[in-house]
Amino acid sequence: MENLNDVYNELIMEHSMNSYNKKKLDKCDLCKMGKNPNCGDEIEIELKLDGNKIQDIGFTGHGCAISQASTSIMIDTLKGKTIEEAREIIKTFIEMIKREITDEEELKKLEDAIAFRNISNMPARVKCALLAWHTIEDMLKEQNNNKQK
């Protein structure tokens, strides 16, 4: 594979091994566990809201470098955003991984998470990169459903 270093780059390696986002929050508004039983990856994401804004996110758990880094970088990207903005970013990230969006301008909103664009060259690892994003997507969906009830 020629693009190995595109995937295992400095940014991803740093986030995967020593993430400052790997922490328990004192208090959280939303919390969800994501797992990939196939690989044994398990992450728990906690989220604290300030009105409609994401004030803080932390994660705990274990997994491969790709899933850990993807979680940590996702947190950097989503912190400080409104829930609507976060939903849009999550959608864009998932579409980038599926190669449905390639437009640079559109991808800019992903900030550092754009580092995962080449993961589609490693099909076996796509689910690792998506674990945290699907987990937080479901978390926000559930929150929305609860609000409507």
Binding site: L4, V7, M17, N38, G40, G63, C128
Partner: protein, 407 residues
Amino acid sequence: MNVEDIKKDFPLLENREITYLDNGATAQKPIQVIKAIEEFYEKSNANPHRGAYELSIEATEEYESTRAKIAKFINAKHSEEIIFSKNATESLNLIAYSYGMDNLKKDDEVVISIMEHHSNLVPWQKITKATGSKLKYMYINEDFELSDEEIKNKITDKTKIVGITHVSNVLGTINPVKKIIQYAHEKGAIVIVDASQSIPHMKIDVQDLDADFLVFSGHKMLAPLGIGVLYGKKEILDKMTPFLMGGDMIEYVYEQETTFAPLPNKFEAGTQNVEGVIGLGAAIDYIENIGYNKIHDLESEVVSYARQELSKLDYLTLYLTPNVQNHCSVISFNIKGVHPHDVASILDSEKVCIRAGNHCAQPLLRSLGIDSTCRASFCFYNTKEDVDNLVKALNKTYRMFKKYINK
């Protein structure tokens, strides 16, 4: 016959420049197996047991003569003790649903080892729950082996069924199945041996083992995917109720009642995987042509070399018995601080194919305090050069991760 000559029989190994070390998952196929299937479809294809015309009779003969060949291969007393299935998993489910469901009673015990593949574990959870019996485990010691003491502690007068893998698909530990069978029989239990990981590497003799049931998949022993075998002692199989119902497993069908065919048809409902059976027959011919002695010599040279070279890498944790005579083909390891899936991806970039994950043995890995391992598994066509490629790729992986681990 040297390894280079043998390798030439395997088109995939010639066509792809890879180091294939995932033989525990599935083995590559020799041209003789591929050709046998081709020839069947070109010359003999018909539905066995169905037609009265020559072609169908020929297909039946090929199908049934392979059954006889397998019986001889594992030294079964009778041909009809060989039942064809989809794979070892289906064979084990057949035993669990038919023998297990009918014979287990409340407070009986089923004893299996902690190193069982999910296929010899999950069905027993279901059947023991349904019958009110108990599922108990034999655990491994610090050498990744079952001790005599553990075997004797767990197999008791309450034990009715013992399930044991001949070779662990994670650890490569060879279990003392003959001893387990002897002890279980003293206690009045029957024993099911999962030979999926052993039959590609060593001679199986069901009469010498005195196994009550023995199962394996074809695809790990050079045969096509989707064909498996269940061996059972005739006197036990005769008393068992059918597992799957349908065509070819019946005698007379009335509106409300059915009588069933005798062995082996009783357990082979519906049109069977005849190409798989033909391919399995060709795989057995291939193995017998090389001979298990030669296979053992070729493999032990490469596997010993792998044990030696991997032991030199101090960044690795090996899950490996120190007793060479109790070890076969499979080596599990981890790079300390690096997830096995990352290791496998980086090895893949060096064209080294290994398996990473829980290997369908979650309870075993949990008992070892881990979620997953990297696993290299060997076949007689592997060489020392394959081991060198593995080591080189591992060194590259370690170099990439070194500065980030435990910073």
